[in-house]
């Protein structure tokens, strides 16, 4: 497994573009916790430490949407989806 290193260019690159600038968010799976951070991995096994304060309680195995090192949404949960705002 390899880790996302900020300076490695994997997540943010001069030549390949920047996932953060592109508003790209990645689905990652929680492996373990350290304080408010969670060590997560993606489908290729790459690991990243993720701040979890913005998504509430998590458990190992939960999937989160991660942007700029911060989980911004918990995936696979029931969502409030009313009908559209009909004009």
């Amino acid at each position: 497994m390899t880790a996302f290193e900020p300076d490695s260019g994997e997540a943010c690159s001069l030549t390949e573009g920047c996932v953060t600038c592109g508003d790209i968010a990645l689905p990652l799976t929680v492996m373990s916790f350290e304080g408010m951070d969670a060590l997560c991995h993606d489908e290729q096994g790459r690991q990243e430490t993720v701040a979890t304060e913005l998504v509430g309680p998590l458990a190992i195995g939960d999937r989160v949407l991660v942007h700029a090192g911060v989980a911004i949404e918990k995936l696979d949960k029931p969502r409030h989806q009313p009908a559209g705002s009909r004009r």
Partner: protein
């Protein structure tokens, strides 16, 4: 790949494309703006436009955070970085954005300590590792990124860090959409809403687009079939005479957004009275600054910044491209004086910029052939 392959199925894309074509009114031309630069990138990377009938035109919007940074704010960042004891940190695409005199990468080569980070939390780590330096995070981005900056400021306060500050350039998407709707030179039929911004703000803030302006908006995901399905949902609304906010990206976006992220943003940030957007001009209440509760982390208060407005180069037509008035290849310097290696305009810098997306995925050649035929 799980959760990805099923959204890139070419046969299914053809089926959806045919369903979209069946909804088109003969003789009518449709203009649909994708607000988000991430959508622009997907559209050209995967050739989404090729699955749509010619009567549907996808218009690129202002949702590339790097592209809307005015040149003067780049110069302000360089001025901060030129302090001897400062380490300036920023996201990767910011490094090559041209300012009035140079870019971050030029300033770095000239001796300023400017470092690329993936997360504002990396900037905080650098601050902890360098207690004798002032570490400044050059914050850009829409509501997708602003919560991570806010969380970083909260952690800095919890740790009583005195050598960390934020130069805040965060912008908000709704005022930009309002500015586009008020633009007299652009007629749009509907919007593809920004998926990840909507993860944070939810779908409700777009309601005025449907109710007051009578235009459908569908919050869309970022895979090719997400976008095709979203166009289908828009076309179905138009065919049925409806204008509603709908959510195609329901596997990620909650209708009410992320209340925790919104609360953190409301605590840490305050709206600026006005902010200059490249291409769109000054828009009131469209950007964020640190609130007075977190003034000790505001780099604009900690350092003298020039704050000079710098006019865009005359040859650059990023403004028209950002508003969707011009296609990238219609700009006078596209692909000649302005390339991803030597960008004149911001739209050519970020891979999510409309010009860079066209340049990298061959739309230039395709459109030239199409125009010449």
């Amino acid at each position: 790949m799980r959760f990805v392959d099923e959204f890139r199925d070419p046969e299914l894309a053809q089926v959806v494309g045919a369903q979209i074509t069946a909804l088109c009114e003969p003789g009518r031309h449709y203009k649909i703006m994708e607000v988000c630069g991430g959508h622009t990138h997907t559209i050209y990377r995967y050739g989404v436009q090729d699955h749509l009938p010619e009567s549907i035109e996808l218009v690129h919007g202002p949702g590339c955070p790097v592209c809307v940074i005015p040149m003067g704010r780049v110069d302000d960042g360089i001025a901060i970085a030129q302090h001897e004891d400062v380490i300036l940190t920023c996201f990767g695409d910011m490094m090559r954005v041209p300012g009035g005199t140079s870019s971050f990468i030029d300033a770095n080569a000239a001796g300023a300590d400017i470092r690329m980070v993936y997360s504002p939390l990396d900037a905080l780590r650098i601050a902890r590792q360098n207690p004798d330096k002032q570490v400044v995070f050059y914050a850009i981005g829409f509501e997708t990124t602003a919560p991570s900056t806010a969380l970083t400021v909260l952690r800095a306060k919890q740790d009583n860090l005195t050598n960390f500050s934020v130069f805040c350039n965060h912008v908000t998407i709704i005022p930009a959409i309002k500015a586009i709707l008020d633009s007299p030179d652009l007629r749009l039929d509907a919007f593809l809403g920004p998926g990840h911004v909507s993860t944070v703000i939810g779908c409700r803030p777009y309601d005025f687009i449907a109710r007051q302006h009578g235009k459908p908006l569908v919050c869309a995901g970022f895979e090719p079939l997400d976008l095709l399905q979203s166009v289908y949902m828009i076309m179905k609304q138009l065919a049925e005479g409806r204008s509603e906010v709908e959510n195609q990206y329901g596997r990620v976006v909650d209708w009410d957004g992320n209340p925790r992220a919104l609360a953190v943003m409301n605590d840490v940030f305050a709206l600026r009275p006005y902010f200059e957007w490249r291409g769109l001009g000054s828009i009131s209440h469209s950007a964020l600054q640190l609130s007075s509760r977190y003034a000790e982390f505001d780099a604009e208060l900690r350092f003298d910044v020039p704050g000079v407005r710098v006019a865009d180069p005359k040859a650059c037509q990023c403004g028209e491209v950002l508003k969707g008035v011009l296609k990238p290849w219609e700009c006078k310097v596209f692909g000649t004086a302005c390339t991803p290696e030597t960008p004149i305009g911001t739209c050519m810098v970020s891979s999510e910029g409309a010009c860079a997306a066209y340049y990298n995925y061959g739309q230039y050649a395709k459109q030239r052939i199409h125009l010449e035929v």
